[in-house]
Every structure is written in structure tokens, then in C-alpha cells.
Symmetry: C2
């Protein structure tokens, strides 16, 4: 697979509203995907739309998500149908001098394509390790191996990062010229995702120290380099 | 409209995976909707799924969202087609003693139905006031009136809170009995949404104080009673 530097722009993926906020470079798309833990996956059953929130992770040119092999969402999206995959971060509330120009700062990615089911056992194990490493690098080695029943009960699917786009709004309000003289507060209230202090399970075995990686988890912001 | 206390359960809205996490009471559904600012709306164009992230607000038995009258999303969802509306909150990362039982704590709502366009001008103005009051009660009165062009350029749509469900996971990991003896840290890393200190616009008129409501904004958690 060649490393692409730009997303493929199609009638589906071209941003139509507020096109100045559109971003098609892969570095931006990847950073937005990597900052997220929760995605929303859209699919169609009997002509009707369904949206399922689930956890995702990225590796190279693909995003992955997984769940129970019995999941209707996973059975549907791996059956060769079009999928819409989105990750969105809310970064701020933008208060303008008129109601009309109020806005939010955000980073979002939308991908289109067909998801594929990862069938190969080695590939599945590698993908599960990537998921674990995304949040808690090294934890995979501490855990017991995945057993056959768990493996059989888990479906993992992947979608190429190819047709899609990012949309980003940042910065302060942009008001109509004549409104700058109004006696109204204007600015931005920042919104961030915060990770709290880890809460040990009441049944935690005595003597087990809190792993260092728990304090390194990052969601919402770009992961530390 | 009668005040419903339960969601309408249908083949679409009945939770199939992890049904013990399903919640159908309206109080829970409303609290999850009210805690959110960002929703994801699913719709179908030419048989393909699209998911758009946008801001929503609730009033009584309806959720609302809005945008440019030229928005393809809004033109589509107000054309009498099925819509899937979702709001999701990530509340924690659940670290279990096996990879398989890792999970996330979350609160999510999914609604199904057909959205309607708010055509009446008075109703539109009232809806915009509700949006403003959701985050910044009282700010609506400080702003200049919406002008005709802005009114014409804005489409607001509404969806009944009727067919749908909530799904909630909370608490610590649930491990296989034989895994509780493993030497692995287990517990929850809480995830919260945090509002930062307001950043005044560089062009803010001198002498304008920061409104008190800016420090009262709540997202992600249930709004203060």
C-alpha cells in the first residue's frame, strides 16, 4: 500500500457547506482519527439509516472497529455495503455578537467505503494488540492470551482511509462588520476531554501497582509525539 | 402532546446487543440528550449512508438541529425520509483482566423517525431561543434580533422523541471468574468533558464584562437542576 498524502475527493467526500473548513490532507485526517476513541458508523438496512457508536483505532491506511460476532452492525457493514465512518471532536463554543454567527470549534473526519472483515487469525490478534496499544501501550503483554472462544466471538472490521475528508473550525467568532460595535461579550469557551484519576476495581488483587501508562492516556487531543 | 414516560420499542429501537444495558425510560433518554451538544444524524441518499455531526437541543418531546438552508443534510432529512439521530457520551475506559472484557462506560441515545422542517417564523424564533438558552440562559436577550436574511438562510428541523432507546454502561470491569486471580491492574479511567476559561475575542469592545452564564455551561454531564 502506498502512503497517500491526500484524501480521494469524490462527489461523496467533497465538503459542500463551509468549504473553507475542508481539509483533505492525510496528516490532518490521521491526527483527528488518532485523537478519537469513539466513532459513529452509518449503514443502511432495508433503506433506513442506522448509526452506531463504537470504539475505533487506526493502523496505517485503515481504521478498525470491532465487537460481538453476533452484532447486526458488524454483520451488516462487512457484507459489502457502503459505510459512512465519522469521528468528531468538539473543541469550543464560539459566542458571536449575533445569534446567527454563533458556532462551535470542532475537528471531524468522514470516511466512505466498504468495510472488510478481518478473517486471518494472526491479523486479528495483531489488530487487537493495536487497539490495546492505542490507549495503553504495553498492557497487551500483561494480559493472558485471547482464547479460542473469545476469538470466535469477536468480529473485527477495517475500512480504508481513502475516500473522505476532514472538516475543522478553530479560532474566535467572525461577526458581521456592523456588529463589532455591539455591547455583547464575544469569544470562545474551550471544550476539552479530561481523563480522571484511575479508579481501581474493588476486587483488585492486593499489591498490584497502578501501571504508568494509565496516566498517559490521551483522548480528544492529538496523541503525544 | 402527552408526556410519555417510556420510549416506543420497535424492531428498530429494541437493543439487541448487551440488552441489560438498554434503557427505555424517557427521563434517562432526556438526560442523555440534554447533556449533549453534538449529535450524529444518519440519513440515506441514493442508497448510501451519510452521517453528519451537528449541534442539537431538546424541548419537550422533540430534539432539534439546524443549519444553512442550503445544507444537503437538512434538505434531505426534512424531505420525509427515515432518520437515525444519535447522541453519545464517553464516560470511562474500563480495563479488565483480559483483553476480551475491556470496555468503555458510556451513555447513548438513538432515535428513529422522520424529521420535520419548522416553517412558522414564531416557532423558528422560539427554537433558536431554546438553543441559546440551552447553553447560555439569558444571552438571547443581549443579542440583536435575528434579521430576515438570517431567518431565511436558516433551516431548523425537529424529530419526535418517540421510537428509540438509550444504552448505558457504568461501573467497573466484569471479568471471568478464573481471571480475578491474575496479577493485572483492573479498574476504570474516567473520561469527562471539561469547559475551559472563556477566551475573549481580541476585538471585544472595551468594558464588556464576562457574563456569569459562561461559567455555568455544562456539557457531557447532566445539566445542573
Amino acid at each position: 500500500m502506498t502512503a497517500e498524502t491526500e484524501m480521494r475527493i469524490t462527489e461523496k467526500s467533497r465538503i459542500k457547506r463551509a468549504p473553507t473548513r475542508a481539509v483533505y490532507d492525510r496528516a490532518t485526517v490521521d491526527a483527528i482519527l488518532d485523537a478519537g476513541l469513539l466513532c459513529h458508523v452509518g449503514y443502511v438496512i432495508d433503506g433506513a439509516p442506522y448509526v452506531t457508536a463504537t470504539c475505533h483505532w487506526r493502523k496505517g491506511d485503515r481504521v478498525y472497529w470491532h465487537g460481538s460476532a453476533a452484532s447486526r452492525m458488524l454483520r451488516t457493514v462487512t457484507s459489502g455495503v457502503p459505510v459512512c465512518f465519522t469521528v468528531s471532536h468538539l473543541d469550543g463554543i464560539v459566542l458571536a455578537r449575533s445569534g446567527f454567527h454563533h458556532s462551535v470549534n470542532y475537528r471531524g473526519v468522514t470516511l466512505f467505503g466498504e468495510a472488510v472483515k478481518i478473517e486471518d487469525e494472526g491479523e486479528k490478534l495483531a489488530a487487537l494488540k493495536d487497539l490495546s496499544d492505542r490507549l495503553t501501550p504495553g498492557r497487551g503483554e500483561e494480559l493472558r492470551p485471547v482464547n479460542d472462544q473469545e476469538m470466535k466471538g469477536t468480529t473485527i472490521c477495517a475500512l480504508e482511509i481513502d475516500e473522505g475528508s476532514a472538516k475543522v473550525r478553530a479560532g474566535g467568532p467572525v461577526d458581521d462588520d456592523e456588529d463589532y460595535d455591539l455591547d455583547v461579550w464575544a469569544g470562545v469557551v474551550p471544550v476539552t476531554t479530561t481523563l480522571g484519576a484511575p479508579i481501581p476495581d474493588p476486587r483488585l488483587k492486593p499489591g498490584i501497582a497502578e501501571p504508568a501508562y494509565l496516566r498517559e492516556i490521551s483522548i480528544g487531543q492529538a496523541p503525544k509525539a
